[in-house]
Amino acid sequence: MRIVNRRDFLKASSSLGIAALGARALDAFAQDVLNVGVVHQYPIGEVGWETQHALGWKAMEAAFPGKVKVTVVADVQQAQDSERVFRELASQGNKLIFGTTFSHMAPMLKVARTAPNTHFDCCASVTTLKNMGAFEARNYEASYVAGVIAGRMTRSNTLGWVGAFPIPQTVWRMNGFMLGARSVNPKAVCNVVWINTWNDPAKEKDAVNALISQGADVLAGSPNTPVQGVAAEERGAWSIANCSDFSKFVPKKQLTGDIFDWRSAYIDSARDALAGTWKAQDRFRGLGEGGFCAMVPYNAAIPAEVVADAKQREKDIVSGKLKVFAGPLKDRDGKQRVAAGGSLSDKEIRSINWLVEGINGPFPKS
C-alpha cells in the first residue's frame, strides 16, 4: 500500500493523536505485528525537524493499519542516553528501530553491533552496517529551487542566511540555494550569520534583523523554527521556510520552503521488514515521488513566469536533466571543485565543507 494522496494522508494522520500513539503497550507475543521504535532527540512540536519525522512514522502507521506498533521516545538529547534507549527498545522486542538525527548515529552503531536480529535505520547517518541503514535528504535540490525564486524576487541582490551550525547538511543546502539564485541572478550574494545554537529563538530574530539591516531582502536559514520568517515579515522581507511549512505563522511573506518528507523512508523500511526482505540501505533521495524533500506551495505573490521557471526546474531535477552541483564549479576561494561536464559525487556532497561563490561570512576551516 502506498500513500499517493497528500490530503488523505493528512486526514489519516490528524485523526490519530500523538498521545495515543506514544502510549502503546508492547505486545511481544503478537504474530505478524511489527514493533517499531522511534527515538526523537527533542520533544515533538507543531512544526520543525521532529515534526517532520513524526509525520513520517504516522504515515507508516496509517499505511499498515494493525500491522505496526510504534513506540516513541522523545527528548533523548545526549548520546549517552540514546544508546541506552536504543538498547532498551531492541531488548523489548522492537524489530525495526529508527534514529531521527545525526547524533543518533554513533550510539546506534554500538547497539546495532550487539543486536544482529534487529533492523536499525538512522536519519543522517553516514555509516551503514548489515543491520543498520541510513536515510538522508538531498534537500539541496529543494533549496536550489527556492534559490531560483529568491534570486528572482530579490531587489537588493542580497540574500540572508541564519545558520545554526556548519554541518554538511546545512552547507549543501546553502550551496544549493546560492547556485539556484545565481542561475537566474548572477549578481546575487548571500550573507551568513551563525548563531551556534538550535534553541535560542531570540538570537535567530537578532540575526535576521542584522541581515535585513545590511540589505538582505530574502531570508533563509537552518534553525528550524518559524522565527526567522516571522521576524522577516515584521520587517517586510521575504523568507524561505526550512523543515516544515511555516505559512501558518508567516502568512504573507513566505515565498516557499524546502521541507523534509520522510514518509517513504519509514513506509518502505517497514514494508520490507514486514515482508522479511529488509536490507540495510543507504537512501539519499531528493525531490519527486517517494523523495525525502519537497517544496512548500509557492506564494501567490510570485509572478507566474517565476513560478513556471521554478516548476520546470523541479521537473528537470527529478528527471535528472538538471544537476545542482554540475561543473564547472568553483568554491568561494576560487578553487575549482568540479570540472566542466562533471558533477559532485554523493560522497563529496555528503562531506561537503566548502562554500560556493557568492556566500559571504565566517566558515570554519578544517
Binding site: P43, T197, P201, D206, V227, V230, G361, P364
Partner: protein, 306 residues
C-alpha cells in the same frame, strides 16, 4: 541611517528581558534576599504567557499571567527560605532547576508553535525627528514598560518611605525588626515582586522577542540578569546600562558577521559571557564599593525569634 536605528532598536530589544528580570532581582536583593532561581522563573513566565496569549490573543493578559506565575514560583522560594529558613543559595539553585522542569512539562504540547506577527508598534511622534521618530516607533510597548519600571523602582527605592524601609530590612534586619517592621513580610513581598518581574521578562521573550516556545529558550538570560545586579552595584540606572551593553554586544557581533567578518563564530558567541565576567571583575575588585552598595544581610537568613 536605517542601520543605526535598527542596531539601537535591536539592542534595546535584547536588553529588555534582562531589565525586567534584573530590576526585579535588585529589589529582592535590596531586601536581603538572594534568589538565584531567576532563570527558572523566567522560563515558567515564558511558557504560561505563551499559552495564555495563544488561547486568548491578548498580549497584556499573557504578561499579567506570567507575572503571577513568576510570583508563585518566587513564593515557593520565599516559603522555603523565609519561613522554613532554608539556605538561599541552595533554594535558588533548586528553583532554577525546578523551573526548567516545570516549564518543559507544561510546554510539551507547544514546542515550536509560533505566534502570528502582531503590529505592536511603539510611540508615534507628532513631528518627524530623524533617527528618534523611527526608533521610538519601532520599539515594542513592553520596552516602554521596562523604562517605566526603571523609573518606578528608582523612585521607590530611593525616594519613597516604603523603599527606605525595604533597604533598612536588607541592611540590618535585626534593627528593622526591633523598630517594629515586619521583616519577613517585607522580604516576602520583595521576593514576589522579583519573581513577577522575572516572569514578565520571560513573557517578553516568548511573546515579543521570539515569539514562540522552545524548551530552555531563556538560554541563560536569567543568570546574566543576576550578574547584572552585581555589575550595577545594586543601582537601577546601572542595571539599564549593563543590560543594553550586554544586548549590544550580542547584536553587534551579528552585524559584524553579516558584514563579512570571518572570525570563528563560536568565539564571537562567547563574547557576551566573557564580557560579563570581565565587567564583574572590574566592578567587584573595588571591595569598598561593593561593601558600600551591597545589602549587608544579602543571602543571610533572618529568624525573628519568639
Amino acid at each position: 541611517m536605517d542601520m543605526v536605528v535598527s542596531v539601537i532598536a535591536a539592542t534595546l530589544g535584547a536588553g529588555t528581558p534582562l531589565i525586567f528580570a534584573a530590576l526585579g532581582e535588585l529589589v529582592a536583593e535590596k531586601s536581603g534576599v538572594l534568589n538565584l532561581g531567576v532563570e527558572g522563573m523566567m522560563l515558567v513566565g515564558a511558557i504560561v504567557a505563551f499559552i495564555t496569549m495563544r488561547s486568548t490573543g491578548d498580549l497584556w493578559l499573557g504578561v499579567a499571567v506570567a507575572g503571577v506565575a513568576g510570583a508563585l514560583m518566587a513564593l515557593l522560594f520565599a516559603f522555603a527560605t523565609l519561613t522554613l529558613q532554608a539556605n538561599q543559595v541552595a533554594a535558588g539553585l533548586a528553583l532554577a532547576i525546578f523551573g526548567a522542569g516545570v516549564s518543559a512539562f507544561i510546554g510539551k504540547g507547544f514546542v515550536g508553535v509560533t505566534l502570528e506577527n502582531r503590529a505592536d508598534a511603539g510611540l508615534s511622534l507628532p513631528i518627524d525627528i530623524p533617527l528618534l521618530s523611527p526608533l521610538l516607533h519601532s520599539l515594542h510597548p513592553l520596552v516602554y514598560v521596562s523604562w517605566l519600571l526603571f523609573a518606578g523602582v528608582s523612585w521607590f527605592l530611593f525616594r519613597s518611605r516604603a523603599g527606605l524601609v525595604l533597604r533598612a530590612v536588607g541592611e540590618s534586619p535585626a534593627s528593622a525588626h526591633a523598630v517594629g517592621y515586619p521583616v519577613i513580610r517585607i522580604r516576602y513581598l520583595a521576593t514576589l515582586f522579583g519573581g513577577a518581574m522575572a516572569g514578565i521578562g520571560g513573557a517578553y521573550l516568548s511573546l515579543v522577542y521570539a515569539p514562540l516556545w522552545l524548551e530552555g529558550m531563556v538560554a541563560g538570560r536569567g543568570w546574566i540578569a543576576l550578574a547584572l545586579v552585581v555589575f550595577a552595584t545594586w543601582r537601577p540606572a546601572r542595571v539599564m546600562l549593563g543590560a543594553y551593553l550586554f544586548g549590544g554586544i550580542t547584536i553587534v557581533q551579528y552585524f559584524a558577521q553579516s558584514a563579512g567578518v570571518a572570525f570563528a563564530t563560536q568565539f564571537m558567541s562567547m563574547l557576551p559571557y566573557l564580557a560579563t565576567i570581565v565587567v564583574l571583575v572590574v566592578i567587584s575588585r573595588d571591595v569598598a564599593m561593593i561593601r558600600l552598595n551591597a545589602p549587608v544581610s544579602l543571602g543571610k537568613p533572618f529568624h525573628p525569634g519568639v
